[in-house]
C-alpha cells in the first residue's frame, strides 16, 4: 500500500480513537471541572463498561444486535450506580479534599481492577459487533462498525454539550463548578450535584468502553491506556474546558493513530507525554483553560 492510502487509513483509525477518547476524557474533565477531583479510577469505569458489555451480550447470544443495545443502555447505568456508591462511601467521607481523593481513587482503581480479575478472570473476551459491514475503498476495506462508533460518539458528545449548556441541571453544574459554597446559598444541594456529576463522568467512560469493546475485547487491564490518554487530553485541553477537551482529544487521537500506524504505539505515547510536558511548561492552564480558581 502506498503512502497516500496508508495515511488515509491512519487518519481514519485516528479519528475513531479521537472520538472514543473525547467521550472518555469528557467524563474526566466534567468530574475535575465541577468537583475538583482527579479521578485516577476513571479508566476502570471504562473497563467496567466493556466487561459488563461482554456479560450483558452473553445473556442474549442469539441476538447480538439487541444484546449490544442492552449493553449500551444498561452497562453505563450499572457503572453510574457503582460511581454513586463510591462517591457516597469514599469521596463524600473525605469531604472531596483534592489530595485525599487522589489516594482514594487510586485505591478504588485497584479494588475495581482486582474485583473484575476475581469475578471475570484474566482472559480477554470478544464481543460481537452489533452491526457488521465493510466499506470497500479502492485501496483497502474498512470496518463499518467503526463508523457506527464515530456516530454514537458524536451523539454522546452533542448530548453532553446540550446537557451542560442548555438544561437546568447544566446550569446547576456550572454554578457549582464556579463556586460550590455560594451555590449552596441559593438552594443547590452541592453534594448531590457532585454525586450526579461523578456518576455522569463514569457513565461517559462506560459508554466509551461499551462502544470500543467489539474492536479490542474486554480485559481487566484495559482501563489503563484510556486513563493515561484522558489525562493527556484534559491537561492539554485545559482542566475545566469542555471545548479544550474535545479539541485535545482530536489532536491526541489523530496523532496517536497516525504515529501508531507509521511508527509504533509506544512512540505515540512518548510524544503525547512530551506534549503534556510542553503544555505544562508553556501554558500550564492548557490550550483552552481559564485560570484555575
Amino acid at each position: 500500500m502506498s503512502l497516500g492510502p496508508h495515511l488515509l487509513l491512519a487518519i481514519m483509525e485516528g479519528t475513531v480513537s479521537a472520538f472514543v477518547l473525547a467521550v472518555t476524557a469528557l467524563g474526566l474533565s466534567l468530574v475535575f471541572g465541577v468537583m475538583r477531583i482527579v479521578n485516577v479510577a476513571h479508566g476502570e469505569f471504562f473497563m467496567l463498561g466493556a466487561v459488563l458489555a461482554w456479560w450483558l451480550t452473553s445473556l442474549v447470544p442469539e441476538a447480538p444486535f439487541w444484546g449490544f443495545m442492552l449493553a449500551l443502555a444498561v452497562a453505563p447505568l450499572l457503572v453510574g450506580t457503582i460511581a454513586i456508591v463510591a462517591d457516597r462511601f469514599v469521596l463524600q467521607r473525605l469531604n472531596y479534599q483534592p489530595e485525599a481523593t487522589i489516594v482514594a481513587t487510586i485505591g478504588l482503581l485497584y479494588i475495581l481492577q482486582q474485583a473484575v480479575l476475581s469475578i471475570y478472570g484474566p482472559e480477554a473476551r470478544p464481543v460481537v459487533a452489533p452491526i457488521n459491514f465493510r466499506i470497500v475503498l479502492p485501496w483497502f476495506g474498512y470496518s463499518g462498525y467503526k463508523l457506527v462508533v464515530v456516530g454514537a460518539a458524536i451523539l454522546l458528545l452533542l448530548a453532553a454539550w446540550y446537557g451542560v449548556t442548555r438544561t437546568r441541571f447544566g446550569l446547576i453544574m456550572r454554578a457549582t463548578q464556579f463556586d460550590g459554597e455560594i451555590a449552596q446559598a441559593f438552594g443547590i444541594p452541592v453534594k448531590r450535584v457532585y454525586a450526579a456529576v461523578f456518576a455522569l463522568g463514569a457513565m461517559l467512560a462506560a459508554a466509551a468502553g461499551v462502544l470500543v469493546v467489539p474492536l479490542q475485547q474486554a480485559h481487566y487491564l484495559m482501563g489503563l491506556d484510556p486513563l493515561l490518554l484522558s489525562f493527556v487530553v484534559v491537561i492539554i485541553g485545559g482542566l475545566d474546558s469542555l471545548k479544550g477537551t474535545i479539541v485535545a482529544a482530536f489532536i491526541i487521537g489523530l496523532s496517536d493513530g497516525i504515529i501508531s500506524v507509521f511508527f509504533s504505539p509506544t512512540l505515540a505515547k512518548i510524544i503525547a507525554t512530551l506534549a503534556v510536558a510542553l503544555v505544562l511548561v508553556f501554558r500550564p492552564n492548557g490550550l483552552f483553560g481559564g485560570k484555575v480558581r
Binding site: L171, I172, R174, A175, E181, I182, A183, F186, G187, I188
Partner: protein, 235 residues
C-alpha cells in the same frame, strides 16, 4: 423573627465566634460593625449554614437552622450577598438570576419584580457577569439574592469599592426592602452610610456581640466607634 443564640464557630481549631448572639425583627435593619477579623462575615455564614455552629442555636420564625443542610437554609427565606459579591462570573446575568430562582415555583413573576428594581440589569441579561462594572455586579449580587424572595437579607459589605452614586442606590434598595418588611443584617465599613438606614447597630469584637446601640446613641457617643472600629463619625 431571626434569633442567633450564643453560637460558637471554628475554622479548624481556631474559634471565630464565641457565644455570638443577635436578634432581628421583621423590617428591621441591623448593622454589624467591627474591625477586620472580628467575626462579622463568619456570623453571616453561620446563619446561612456555610459555617457550622458547634453549639448554640439559630432560628428563623421558630425553625431551627443549625441542624439544617446548608442548601435548605435559603429556602426558609434568607437571601445572602457575600463579601466580594462572588457572582458566577462565567455565567450570564440571566443565568445568575436563574440560579437565584432555583427554589422559586413562580420564578417568572419574581424575576420580573426583581428586574423592576434593577432596570439596568434587563439591558445586560445576556452579558457575562464577570464583564459588568463593580456597581452593576453589586446590583446583580443583590438581585440574585432577592430572587429568593427573602424574609431576611444578609448583606456583607455591599458598598465595598463602589462610587457614591452606586452606594446610595444600594442603600435605597435596603430602605425599599425595609418598607416591604424584609429584615436586613448589613455588614458595612462605611459607618455614616450605614447609619442612615440602620435601626440598630451591633458591635462585634473577638467573635462576640459586644454592644448593641441605636444610631442616635452612636452619633451622641462616637467613642464607641473609636473603641470598636477605630474610626470616627460626623454628628
Amino acid at each position: 423573627m431571626l434569633k442567633v443564640d450564643r453560637i460558637n464557630c471554628f475554622y479548624g481549631h481556631v474559634q471565630v465566634l464565641r457565644d455570638f448572639s443577635l436578634d432581628l425583627a421583621p423590617g428591621e435593619v441591623l448593622c454589624l460593625l467591627g474591625r477586620n477579623g472580628a467575626g462579622k462575615t463568619t456570623a453571616l455564614k453561620a446563619i446561612m449554614g456555610l459555617v457550622r455552629a458547634r453549639s448554640g442555636g439559630i432560628t428563623l420564625d421558630g425553625i431551627d437552622l443549625v441542624g439544617m443542610a446548608a442548601h435548605e437554609v435559603p429556602k426558609q427565606g434568607i437571601g445572602y450577598t457575600p463579601q466580594g459579591r462572588r457572582l458566577f462570573s462565567d455565567l450570564t446575568v440571566d443565568e445568575n438570576l436563574q440560579v437565584g430562582l432555583m427554589t422559586r415555583a413562580k420564578g417568572a413573576e419574581t424575576r420580573e419584580r426583581v428586574l423592576g428594581l434593577f432596570p439596568l440589569l434587563r439591558e445586560r441579561l445576556h452579558q457575562r457577569a464577570g464583564t459588568l462594572s463593580g456597581g452593576e455586579q453589586q446590583m446583580l449580587a443583590t438581585a440574585r439574592a432577592l430572587c429568593l424572595e427573602p424574609k431576611v437579607m444578609l448583606l456583607d459589605e455591599p458598598t465595598e469599592g463602589l462610587m457614591p452614586i452606586m452606594i446610595s442606590k444600594i442603600l435605597d434598595i435596603v430602605a425599599t426592602l425595609k418598607e416591604a418588611g424584609v429584615a436586613t443584617i448589613l455588614v458595612e465599613q462605611r459607618v455614616e452610610s450605614a447609619l442612615h438606614v440602620a435601626d440598630r447597630v451591633a458591635f462585634v469584637e473577638n467573635g462576640r456581640t459586644a454592644e448593641v446601640v441605636s444610631p442616635d446613641h452612636l452619633r451622641a457617643d462616637p467613642s464607641l466607634l473609636h473603641h470598636y472600629v477605630g474610626v470616627g463619625v460626623r454628628k
